[in-house]
Symmetry: C2
Subunit: 287 residues, 2 copies
């Protein structure tokens, strides 16, 4: 791996929140070839020393802002002394034909892969961006303890969290997800995205399919924590948590799957259960 440039970040905004600081920053990313925004919540404990860090990966159509404003996570993060980093969901501001044609591909829909297909391969490198470049930027500019890193996300971002953790178990000590796409090989969102970014050879998709990765690589960290709304409109067509259950069962990987009666796919669902995810990660990262 060549040296990652982390020289310059620009402060977009900073707001005091629960005695911590909710910031939004921008930088020019080598991986995506464009200016990327990301949020960082620094808890008050960061004033006296490095704190553990959680990466939150958002879902389709989101930016760095959705989780910051809607999840209500800062209260608990401030109590626990955990930083939360919220990347954007795709490159932006590029002139790639078709980039903004649909809500589930291109803009706002990077799917946390490194694309191999034209015209996406040069910029749609959200895997490398989130798992390599952004951690280097964080280490260079913020008082975080990179040895204590966890990752979580929602929907497409739940897929991203699971996949990046399974691909980089040395980097992520804990992983959890809300309503994740557990197997892009087996749902319309995933098939469209991976065909577009990775091409028609479905064998290559297995590197970005949580269920396939669980069976091929396993997971020796703490049991995967997943919350899923039972009234989620995408439950049966896109999310299919039963596939995750089956993969974990076959691979002997622990899974704490919590079906939540009456809850849907929205941030109202996330806000309702984010506290328990934060406490789960904080406990793991304290070890």
């Amino acid at each position: 791996m060549s040296t990652i440039q982390t020289n310059t970040i620009t402060t977009v905004s900073q707001n005091l929140c629960f005695e911590g600081t909710q910031g939004v920053y921008s930088h020019v990313s080598e991986q995506t070839g464009c200016t990327m925004r990301f949020g960082v919540f620094l808890p008050p404990q960061a004033k006296v020393g490095p704190v553990p860090v959680l990466y939150w990966l958002s879902g389709l159509t989101c930016t760095e802002e959705n989780f910051i404003t809607k999840a209500g996570a800062q209260r608990v993060a401030a109590e626990l002394g955990v930083a939360i980093v919220t990347p954007d969901t795709s490159p932006r501001g590029l002139d790639i034909p078709g980039m903004a044609d649909s809500y589930d591909f291109g803009l706002g829909a990077g799917f946390y892969v490194n694309a191999t297909q034209a015209p996406w391969a040069q910029n749609f490198r959200m895997d490398a961006y989130v798992s390599q470049e952004l951690p280097a930027v964080m280490a260079a500019h913020f008082p975080i303890d990179a040895q204590r890193t966890g990752i979580f996300g929602h929907s497409m971002g739940g897929h991203g969290a699971l996949v990046l953790a399974l691909r980089n178990p040395q980097r992520y000590r804990s992983v959890s997800a809300f309503a994740p796409i557990v197997s892009p090989l087996h749902c319309p969102w995933g098939e469209k995205a991976l065909a577009g970014y990775l091409g028609p050879d479905r064998d290559t998709w297995k590197d970005y399919d949580a269920c396939a990765l669980i069976e091929s690589r396993g997971w020796t960290g703490p049991a995967l924590l997943v919350d899923q709304g039972a009234n989620d409109t995408f439950l049966q067509t896109q999310l299919k948590p039963e596939l995750l259950q089956q993969a974990c069962s076959r691979a002997g990987v622990g899974l704490d799957l919590r079906m939540r009666a009456g809850y849907d796919h929205s941030y109202f669902f996330i806000a309702s259960f984010v506290e328990s995810h934060l406490r789960f990660h904080a406990q793991q990262l304290a070890l």
Copy 2:
């Protein structure tokens, strides 16, 4: 007062949130002559009986949505068993010249007054809408105990909460505010709004000036609770909490003014302290 029509409301959305229901509804308002949206969070306790109700009044440019998605209030409201109603901040969808020309007058800036000046007088009746029509709609359609009603708000909505409580002490048992406009007679936002809605005679403005009302009518309810960020950009030009202190002091009205070092005017500030406001109201409404 003639009978208020409360026949029909339409459900725009409902999301389960902390085991309660966050709904958004619409109805045709007699007072504003247009379709109005409002949010209602019903805590789980509402399934077994009427619950106390809090009205939240938002600030300039807001709709019914901002508080619902950004304040993180549902968690505590669900714990305390309090409903929260979030009206919009002005009439919408009307064809009034000049209605959308500025962020601080007209659309999103009703200032919670009953306008007397053309072309606003027919529709910009947010005082009557919030303090009379909407409570009647709530009583007709939701399991709330109108005898236990409190009111709070932010900025222009903090002004609205204070003014409506002071004008209707029989209706509101408790009132609190975040960064309120305490005296529209003495700030540019207030002068512009009240001149436009009420005309040039500043004597008529005193009916909608919290400081003037405190001195003319007093307040025998619990001490007014106000949180104010010390780093609020609008502190010295628009908000001027010292005027509220002086008015309360002269009138012998209790005021719990909490200056919050480092906090600004945003929802990050509101989210940080909304729990204490909810607990304050719940305690008063339990009496």
